[in-house]
């Protein structure tokens, strides 16, 4: 029973990680942009959301509705002004640029919001739970998982069925050939980053609801997103989702073995996958 509970909690935790990982799967897996500021963007959006909530007395849903379009805009501007200058076959320039951005964002957030931990008031949503056969399941984690599943499904469908999705996959496969077929890679990348950061708008709201956020929390979120994408396999959206589940379950089971072992267990599983199947569970060799 205890292990079944750990498994369920792990899957629910995986839902949260999936929301970080989807944007990463799009940027890292498809565009080969290593965005070190990924986690900091989540925290920035969380803090903006918290400030919006306290300034206008908004509940979680209105904050989400306001935050996602803002996130899309931030992503678009980020790609247009910074990332399009450094994107290319070499992943190093984008890594360095976003590393600098990460440090700048953390300090900016420290200036504006101070180092205090904050959270988004959920008006009781965060403490509601449902009991199924003696196992208590939080309502909020279930919503997080449902939203993550919906986002994964939507993103996968967008990549497979839409004009934009085909253009993005084509640019990911061979950017020069894509340009020779009439695609403007920079325009496609700008939209892709807008979508990736837009998804982080969801992650930001749920992160601030289920726990606290502080300006220095970004790098930890970044690591989880990276690990989930690499476990799942680069370039696969459902792979990132499953990778998030694997990471969540590893951490939950590790936590049951010893409370100090949870996060480490996730890292160990990640390293094990990296050593034995470096292309990821769903990646092509």
């Amino acid at each position: 029973m205890q292990w079944l509970d750990a498994l369920i909690q792990g899957v629910l935790l995986g839902g949260m990680y999936a929301q970080y990982a989807l944007g990463m799967a799009l940027m890292f897996g498809v565009m080969r942009i290593v965005n070190i500021s990924h986690g900091d963007l989540v925290i920035l959006l969380s803090l903006i959301g918290i400030s919006l909530a306290s300034a206008f007395g908004l509940g979680p849903l209105p904050v989400l509705v306001a935050l996602v379009p803002l996130a899309v805009l931030i992503g678009f501007v980020l790609q247009k002004t910074v990332l399009n200058r450094v994107v290319g076959n070499d992943p190093l320039p984008s890594l360095i640029a976003t590393f600098g951005l990460s440090i700048a964002l953390q300090n900016l957030m420290l200036q504006i919001w101070s180092a205090n931990s904050r959270s988004l008031p959920g008006y009781g949503l965060e403490s509601r739970s449902i009991e199924i056969g003696g196992i208590y399941i939080g309502l909020l984690p279930v919503i997080v998982l449902a939203v993550a599943t919906g986002l994964t499904w939507g993103l996968d469908l967008m990549l497979k069925r839409t004009r934009f999705g085909r253009a993005l996959r084509a640019a990911a496969a061979d950017v020069e050939a894509a340009a020779m077929t009439g695609i403007d890679p920079r325009a496609v990348y700008a939209l892709a980053t807008a979508a990736a950061v837009g998804i982080l708008g969801f992650a930001a709201v749920f992160q601030a609801l289920r726990s606290t956020v502080a300006p220095a929390d970004g790098p930890a979120q970044l690591i989880y997103a990276f690990e989930a994408v690499i476990i799942g396999g680069m370039g696969s959206v459902w792979g990132a989702f499953i990778g998030s589940m694997v990471l969540g379950i590893s951490q939950a089971i590790g936590f049951r073995i010893d409370p100090g072992f949870g996060v480490l267990a996730g890292h160990i599983v990640f390293l094990f996958v990296l050593a034995t199947r470096p292309q990821g569970l769903f990646g092509r060799a």
Binding site: R163, R169, A177, T181, G182, I183, D184
Partner: protein, 250 residues
Amino acid sequence: MSAVLSTHGLVARYGDFQALYGVDTELGAGECVALIGANGAGKSTFLRAVMGLLPVAREMVRLDGEPVGGTAPDRMVQKGVAIVPEGRRLFTGMSVEDNLRVAIDQAARAAGKAGARAGGKGGWTLKRVHDLFPILAEKARTPVQSLSGGQQQMVAIGRALLCQPRVLLCDEISLGLAPKVIREIYAALPEIRAAGTAVILVEQDVGLAQSASDRLYCMLEGRVTLAGKSAEISRAQIGEAYFGVGHAVA
């Protein structure tokens, strides 16, 4: 004859290495011109420079008289120039149909943006490409990486045609293919030209190039060493231009 595409003293370099030394060429509307020459003569570089994949000066390439040198490749496609690139360069991991759809999508986007200005007189549709290469209809759902070389080449040609080009650049489309497959692919050429598309063929096989084209240019070490009507040029002339016999090599 008014040239749809022309180059004027085209110079291109890869870093310190100069690959083209002032190449002058002309392609008439609906014409098929072959570009022959040994490995390293600059044929592919010529196509890359025209397509905007290498930095060149504006005045060096003209499309309908308008200077377009150095225009980004996606803009060149919108202006009506498409390429079947060396090595096919298909979108790996995507199906045959999705590879073709990418071109359809972009042509539709360009047409929507520019109204009637967009290049396509050809009116190429997925169905017409399927009529041209029936195997592509059969393999529509197959990932391109599991096709044979000839079938991949057909996808690459289909993809370029669906860009609705007025000028089609073909880079070594016979390379590495069996003679039967080469005949099959070259059999599509008359239909492509019937749609009003002018073609530049870069070809290693001199006989094939000569029989398929109206005129030909022979290149050697980044320069044009011979130009003329394909039917009137003798093998001896080509041999001389191809290998540089009698030419002072700097």
